[in-house]
């Protein structure tokens, strides 16, 4: 069967070594203490461990609420809503599964599970590369999760994002990822703007 692939995803937030959350399912939104690191589109509603099997959990469990616009205290112009996620599919001399992984991990809107609709920003440069095999070869903290949940596009030099105020910005692959991380959170106290 052939499916159409998407090229952009919702921003579920910032991954840090403190909160260790991808924010892409309700179950990820455990403690309230780091909720400010969420993006505007974290996983909400009942947690489905696997959408193809009946949900073993009660519907009320892990039922996080959508982010309200008043919770975006970093400013809607300074918070990423959607961003491009498309990457090159190629094989790798060192990782046998790289091409197959890259193919499987493209954006897919019909599948709400984990990262197919959402990305999260990691504080690693490889999270904003459009070369999936390169991301895997580099490796490092969070392994391939940094590649699955990253950002990128097939046009040169970077990718586009839509901010929560509706404006569109081009993000360079040369951006300081800590700055991009600050643009990924709704309420981290960082009112950093790109210009």
């Amino acid at each position: 069967m052939l499916y159409n692939r998407g090229t952009y995803r919702g921003n579920s937030g910032l991954y840090t070594s403190d909160d260790t959350s991808y924010w892409d399912s309700s179950g990820e939104q455990k403690g309230k203490q780091y909720a400010n690191d969420r993006g505007p589109l974290p996983g909400v509603g009942p947690l489905y461990l696997d959408p193809w099997v009946p949900n073993p959990l009660p519907m009320t469990k892990w039922c996080a609420s959508p982010v309200k616009i008043k919770q975006i205290t970093d400013g809607t112009a300074n918070t990423v809503l959607l961003g491009e996620k498309a990457h090159i599919v190629r094989s790798s001399a060192t990782i046998a599964s790289a091409a197959e992984d890259a193919r499987r991990r493209r954006t897919f809107w019909a599948y709400t599970y984990t990262s197919y609709q959402r990305s999260v920003t990691f504080l690693q440069t490889r999270t904003i590369t459009n070369d999936y095999a390169r991301c895997m070869e580099i490796g490092g903290p969070s392994d391939e999760n940094t590649c699955k949940r990253g950002w990128g596009s097939l046009h040169p030099g970077g990718f586009n994002v839509t901010m929560c105020d509706g404006s569109v910005q081009f993000i360079s692959e040369s951006i300081d990822v800590f700055l991009f991380g600050a643009l990924s959170t709704i309420a981290n106290g960082d009112t950093i703007a790109l210009q």
Binding site: T16, D18, T125, R126, G140, S172, D176
Partner: protein, 139 residues
């Protein structure tokens, strides 16, 4: 506009650019990671140049320590040896799911970007990332 400029560039200039990180200010950078003064083997190093004048200081670099704690940085993209000249945040993390002997969590302060290195214009082989168990008590 940039396409036009590219077309007017002589072939030798393109060759030079391709050879040194597409015109990025990159210098060779290698060194050692120490934990309480002893070499720290098989850890991942990630660096990110810090935005100062521009939000786009250039891509980060990565490396891995050998048995002697030594590492050499390579740019994430394009794949060339070295790192962007200037100040970087440094993140040190275990490779894969490694637990310390005492079962401690990997210290947040080793990988939250609070560590810094400086890559000089002429490059360096003398980078030192010094970690201590004392600073790991912070979190």
């Amino acid at each position: 506009m940039s396409k036009l400029r590219f077309a007017l560039m002589p072939a030798w200039a393109l060759a030079v650019l391709a050879g040194c990180g597409q015109g990025l200010p990159v210098a060779p950078a290698s060194g050692v990671v120490l934990l309480d003064g002893a070499p720290l083997a098989n850890v991942s190093i990630m660096t990110q140049p810090i935005a100062t004048n521009s939000p786009n200081p250039g891509p980060g670099s990565f490396g891995r320590t050998n048995a002697e704690g030594q590492f050499e940085l390579e740019l994430v993209k394009p794949a060339v040896r070295g790192a962007i000249i200037g100040e970087h945040r440094v993140m040190i993390a275990p490779v894969g799911e490694v637990k310390t002997a005492t079962g401690d969590k990997w210290p947040t302060s080793f990988s939250d970007g609070s560590l810094r290195i400086q890559v000089p214009k002429e490059g360096t082989k003398e980078l030192r990332v010094e970690l201590s168990r004392r600073m790991s008590k912070n979190k």
